[in-house]
Amino acid sequence: MTTWLQEQFRRYYARPRIHFPDRFPRREYALIPFGEQHMQRHLAVKTREDLQSLLERRVPAHIYYSSAYYETPDAPTMTEKGWMGADLIFDLDADHLPGAGGLSYPEMLAAVKQEMIKLLDFLQGDFGFGEADLAVYFSGGRGYHCHVTDARVQTLGSQERREIVDYITGRGLDTQSLLQERTVYRQGNITQTSLEMPLPDEPGWRGKISREIIRFFQSLLDAPEEEALQQLTQFEGIGPKTARTIYEGLTPQRIQRMRQGKFDQFPYIKKMAPHLIRRSAVELRGEPDEPVTADVKRLIRLPGSLHGKTGLRVEHVPLGDIDQFDPLVDAVVFDDSPVALTLKKGTAISMKNRSFDLQPGSHTVPAYLAALLVGRGLATVDS
């Protein structure tokens, strides 16, 4: 029995817009059919038409391909497959964001997008990947993926990839040497020390942290007193009294000194540094076991395919457009033909720039919204 949603997918897959991964015949494909939990793995295709016809015949709820490319992609075990290399994949998902639980779907997506923008800054600035080797996709679900196809990283093993993850998440950062005490003056038993911080234009994390410190204190200086104090007391170990001392000691001259790497008589920074580091880092946590990026044989959603739980397309996000990209407009594929359904739970959402605020019960809504509601199990289509 084909369901309404499956029928929509069937129509899409009759003329899909797939982004073929490079070396697509060397990839493993895997799919989950409608109504099933189990993933069928170890599929391979030789030509574009093969993949096209696979989609047309099977109409999967979810389809994936391997970040790795293999000698024999359809062999059943890793050893027989013969690993040749793998793209570097970053999977940013709302599930990995602390505090995302309380957010609405669009808010969640916006929060993940901010992380992606931070990630791109690392990938383009620190790692120097060119635009041709970077591709960002909306996952169709609750996040974004970034694929790096630079040949120099494709053969890295998982230990090496883990180092990249650690860089981006700031794990193992030697915070001690970032801020160092230096004796500037000593006479008898009088010693004067000064705290040195990195310069904003230094490479690597040193410069990053320096810029973040300066940015933070500049924003405090620019903010109304009330707000600045409140910002400060958010830090662990900084009470109202200390906050006031910090705020009152803050002058444009002092920030100018920071730009020159001097942090004199301003010891509080040590307390705040860990927080400022966290802000500069990307949240890739939540998968302590095998971070996706370190996995050299991971399956990822096929760009251009549909996500079975939303009906949204795994959509390519041009790097220059990421700020404007709105998944609930740009990744919508179904049209607005009316669909009658029964909603189980009240839902408020805006899609294709139309706001919906629906109570439980019967409604007629555009097909694209129906797909999202049905996919998430919030509604059933009336027959």
């Binding site: 120097g128 883990r162 990249i164 860089y167 994390w205 370190a294």
Partner: protein
């Protein structure tokens, strides 16, 4: 390149070219009295690698000396390949690489660049290294060398002379290990160097036995608290971060468990995936890469938050390394 210089780096292609240009057959190298010196130094290289963990210090007073040094290297390699022991291949590659590192520190910048190019390590004229090659070769297990602490910008990072030499040491080690792994030594070798090959095999075996005896039967009862905790976590299917797995597997490997035994321990886990787990284990124990990682020290384990400080016992307080804990515990039981 000067032949004296080449004698320090007999693994460089230019040194190999010298051997080729002399146009001698393997037969001659193995039997001709002219190459007696080369054979002696070759033997010495191998023994030094085994006993000292580093080769070198053979006199290079004349051009002939230098040439003999260069010739000794292919001989040594053939002996190592005939021994056919993966651990020993790794040890020999490391011993040669260490020696090279000692010299490299004193060489010119241009020379370092040249060696880097030969090893296909991407370095630009300002000694900046591409991060991918840095990750392949730098000892990133130690915090100082972690990528996150390096001045990375636009994909490249600057190293000083010594740091680059250190990275090259590892690149040399990896290159030599791969070459040894793929080498099929002529059978004649095992005849000429029968004594040496047998002696080395015996030593290796004795060492393994001694280590086993010292460690006793690998036993879970002697595991320190941190390892017990990690093992229990894995067996109950709890989420264990990669460093945790790494710590436990490298430890179990060091106390003499092989892949099968470790797999046996992990099999209790509810989401046990034999193939995947085997793959992970073999990566850590060096079956795949040739580097077998030594298990981390207490200090590292503590930094990663994997030392259950509330469960530390009297032995814990005496040791800096979980392996020492294991040894002490073994002694007590006897």
């Amino acid at each position: 390149m000067d032949i004296y210089v080449l004698a320090r780096y007999p693994f460089l292609s230019e040194a190999k070219e010298v051997v080729r240009r002399e146009n001698v057959r393997t037969e001659e190298i193995l039997h001709d009295p002219i190459y007696e010196r080369a054979r002696d130094i070759g033997r010495q290289r191998v023994t030094d690698a085994l006993e000292e963990g580093v080769v070198g210090g053979y006199p290079v007073a004349s051009e002939t000396d230098a040439l003999m040094n260069i010739f000794s290297y292919p001989i040594a390699r053939m002996i190592v390949a005939s021994v056919g022991h993966p651990y020993f291949r790794g040890r020999y590659a490391l011993a040669e690489a260490k020696r090279a590192y000692e010299f490299l520190q004193g060489e010119s910048r241009d020379f370092l660049l040249q060696v880097a190019r030969e090893l296909e390590v991407a370095v630009d004229d300002d000694l900046r290294l591409h991060f991918a090659d840095y990750l392949r070769h730098a000892p990133t297990r130690s915090q100082r060398w972690k990528l996150v602490n390096m001045p990375l910008s636009q994909g490249w990072l600057s190293l000083d002379h010594r740091e680059l030499a250190r990275v090259l040491q590892n690149a040399i080690q990896h290159r030599l290990f791969e070459e040894l792994r793929d080498m099929r030594p002529p059978s004649e070798i095992s005849n000429v160097f029968r004594e040496e090959v047998t002696a080395i095999r015996n030593t290796l075996q004795q060492r393994e036995m001694r280590e086993k005896a010292e460690m006793g039967e690998a036993s879970v009862a002697k595991l320190p608290p941190c390892m017990r905790m990690l093992l229990a976590a894995i067996q109950t299917g709890a989420n264990v971060p990669h460093v945790g797995r790494f710590t436990l597997v490298s430890f179990l490997n060091a106390i003499g468990m092989d892949t099968e035994e470790i797999l046996g321990l992990f099999a209790a886990s509810p989401d046990f995936d034999r193939e995947r787990t085997r793959y992970q284990i073999e990566h850590i124990t060096g079956k795949v890469s040739g580097t077998d990682y030594t298990p981390p020290s207490c200090a590292s384990i503590k930094t990663w938050g994997l030392c259950p400080t509330d469960k530390m016992d009297a032995i814990c307080r005496r040791v800096n390394h979980p392996l020492s804990y294991y040894r002490i515990k073994g002694r007590r039981r006897k």
